[in-house]
Amino acid sequence: MPKIIRINAGVPQVMDDDWELVRAAELASACEPHRKIVPLSYFRSMLEEHRPSNIQAVWISPDDDFESLVPELRSMKVIAVDFPTFRDGRGYSVATLLRSRYQWDGELRAIGDVLRDQLNYMRRCGFDSFAVRADKDIDDAIKSFNHYSVKYQGAVDDPLPLFRRRGGL
């Protein structure tokens, strides 16, 4: 079974991935949605066609307009955000919005080109599970979480900027 990193009570851990990522909408339609992460576009088409769906998890591409579906997304068990390449930083803003503006408090997973040196940024923007790119050593990647103890600015993990704590304020 593939592995992911999940933050459990604040501690990143490598564990088995009990979800299957379905990349293409055609494939999603052919399978039972149980424990599958399907494309948001597929979920949207189900809603538009008023077909009953028991979809439990979706993944969002940075081009998707997810904000128009926020109420429907609340019933999900997992929301995943795709990084088509690690250089595409839109997923950080998507995660920040899901967590801070839309109060998503379920599992938020980074998928796609997820690499070790980006994990800490992703965590700060509210991701709590990480499907590290398959060709990378996940036990190596997990080491990257403890490089930093100082955070200047507020983010999802801690909205209070350092200046509100400095000098015991």
Partner: protein, 553 residues
């Protein structure tokens, strides 16, 4: 100046250890070059023509003497004995070994310096003007907010992988000396009618392939909202900026595509969610940071120093230097001194040797208050010198070839490293700067010409700000040969303008002659006391073109 506390110290050390680990993984092959690229860029490391180049951050252009000594040490120990000050108020070293980069960063950390986000698609070094805190025309000191922005942008997790680089500049004087409107975001601080500190925010400026001056998107923003407002701008840009084409990825293209009003409305809408949130600045934080910049060591001295006035009267060359390179200070009895890094042919603009850096650091301690500034014109400033010490300083600066009285004149050339170092160049810029400096080596003639800026870039990226020069020179490639395109009419400051191309480009050897024709035209048609740029505005480009191309055929 700003002093690190425990948090800042720890963060910079954590960064060094992270980068050391990344370099080790690159060297062992764990990281591909493609994966390593953005990581090294965010640590200031480029792979250039001959070697790696390291760009060290000089936040808002402010240095202590100890920091400058460290920069000299780095130049000697890890480079070839010099460094290059840039139009972004940073310093670049051109001959770096990848294996040594972590050690350099570790040494820099001992004097509270780093290379974080000096490159890459993230928020870059925040810039302001070189006379911040001492300028007589200052409305407010921009440095505290610049430092607050520095901290906010450092390792900001949401904005480390933007569509493209992002540059922010602040100015808070009557005159804009920070080229604010050519930045992605530019902020003018001022006092409103009620006497409150407010911000006028511009967005969408930048040079490069598509040069655009930024547009105002907000006025009268209370300073407490600086961070949340910039966050709103960056979020809109991060989500909607183009990523399909590197040349269309800057925020200026987004602002242009949406239209300024629609862009501003998007930002405003985003900001409503962030307004008054935890990143709203507090008076306490402002005071904490501002405290570090307040200079309390000024002596009570007379505004007129009789010795200084005698020295001025007795020594014409000294007087000439004072007139050009020494500026009024807001504290009586003090002045700000610009040390020109452009002594003429033979020294690339912005290049300073380790030995010169050590001398400058010593002068800052002896004649000033231990502080140094870097200007975007690539010169070095001693901001606080007592009038009575100016003569002694001048004497020593002459010996170090740093006292050329050409500030703001034609030979105060801004030039990028061009084809001599840069792998993106289409043409060399330094030999052009050199040949022009050689042709115009008569100081009296230059002084008579007055203010005239000349900027040179080796390619369309515009690192030498050629669009903003009264005369701009751009290196272009034609069938593998180096050619130079000339623009006139560019200007920085309150009346910022982008230059216009005068016609077909020239060969390197023609360039000094072309500049001569432009200057000649100016001398023929100017009226008494009129600057080059004003003459051009009055008579238009035609007489200039006619003279240049008449002679060229």
């Amino acid at each position: 100046m700003y002093q690190y506390d425990e948090y800042d110290e720890v963060l910079v050390r954590e960064r060094v250890s992270e980068f050391r680990d990344q370099v080790a993984r690159r060297l062992s092959g764990d990281l591909s070059e493609e994966e390593f690229l953005p990581l090294r860029l965010q640590n200031g490391l480029y792979n250039q023509k001959h070697a790696y180049m390291l760009r060290v951050a000089i936040p808002y252009g402010v240095l202590s003497s100890a920091q400058l000594r460290m920069l000299a040490h780095i130049a000697r120990r890890y480079d070839r004995g010099y460094g290059h000050f840039t139009t972004r108020q940073n310093i670049q070293y051109n001959w770096i070994k990848l294996e040594e980069a972590p050690d350099i960063l570790q040494e820099l950390a001992t004097v509270q310096m780093h290379a974080i986000q000096t490159s890459g698609n993230c928020v870059r070094n925040i810039t302001t003007e070189q006379f911040a805190g001492v300028a007589a025309d200052e409305i407010l000191d921009p440095r505290p907010l610049a430092e607050i922005l520095r901290q906010w942008s450092t390792l900001n997790p949401e904005f480390a992988f933007l569509p493209r680089k992002f540059k922010i500049a602040l100015s808070a004087s009557k005159e804009d000396r920070a080229a604010v409107r050519m930045h992605d975001v530019g902020v003018y601080m001022h006092l409103n009618a009620a006497g409150q500190k407010v911000l006028r925010v511009f967005a969408g400026g930048g040079l490069g392939r598509t040069p655009i001056l930024s547009s105002q998107i907000r006025d009268d923003l209370p300073w407490q909202h600086l961070l949340s407002y910039v966050e709103a701008i960056l979020r809109v840009y991060n989500r909607y900026g183009r990523r399909d084409n590197k040349y269309k990825a800057r925020i200026k293209i987004l602002v242009k595509a949406l239209g300024v009003d629609a862009f501003a409305a998007e930002v405003e809408q985003e900001w409503l969610h962030l307004k008054d949130g935890p990143s709203t600045l507090t008076e306490d934080e402002y005071e904490r940071v501002a405290h570090f910049f307040r200079q309390e060591r000024y002596e009570q001295v007379d505004a007129h120093d009789p010795t200084f006035e005698r020295q001025l009267a007795d020594n014409k060359r000294f007087a000439q230097w004072v007139k050009r390179n020494v500026r009024e200070h807001k504290v009586p009895g003090y002045a700000s001194v610009t040390l020109s890094t452009k002594p003429g042919a033979g020294v690339p603009p912005g290049d300073v040797t380790a030995e010169q850096m050590e001398h400058i650091a010593a002068w800052a301690d002896e004649f000033g208050l231990g502080e140094i500034r870097i200007a975007h014109e690539q010169n070095v400033i001693l901001p606080d010198v007592r009038l009575r010490d100016l003569h002694a300083l001048w004497y020593r600066a002459v010996a170090q070839n740093l006292a050329t009285p050409n500030l703001g004149l034609l030979t105060d050339i801004i030039a990028c490293p061009g084809g001599d170092y840069c792998s993106l160049a289409n043409a060399r810029s330094l030999p052009i700067a050199e040949s022009i400096a050689r042709r115009f080596d008569d100081l009296d003639f230059l002084c008579d010409l007055g203010e005239l800026s000349l900027n040179i870039s080796g390619c369309i990226n515009a690192c030498g700000h050629h669009h903003m020069g009264n005369i701009g020179v751009l290196g272009v490639d034609k069938d593998g040969e180096e050619w130079y395109q000339v623009t006139i009419g560019g200007a920085q400051g309150n009346e910022s303008a982008l230059g216009k191309v005068i016609g077909p480009s020239f060969r390197a050897e023609e360039m000094p002659g072309v500049i001569e024709r432009l200057v000649e035209t100016y001398c023929q048609v100017r009226v008494e006391g009129e600057a080059f740029i004003d003459t051009l505005a009055r008579v238009g480009a035609e007489p200039f073109k006619a003279n240049v191309y008449h002679h060229a055929v």
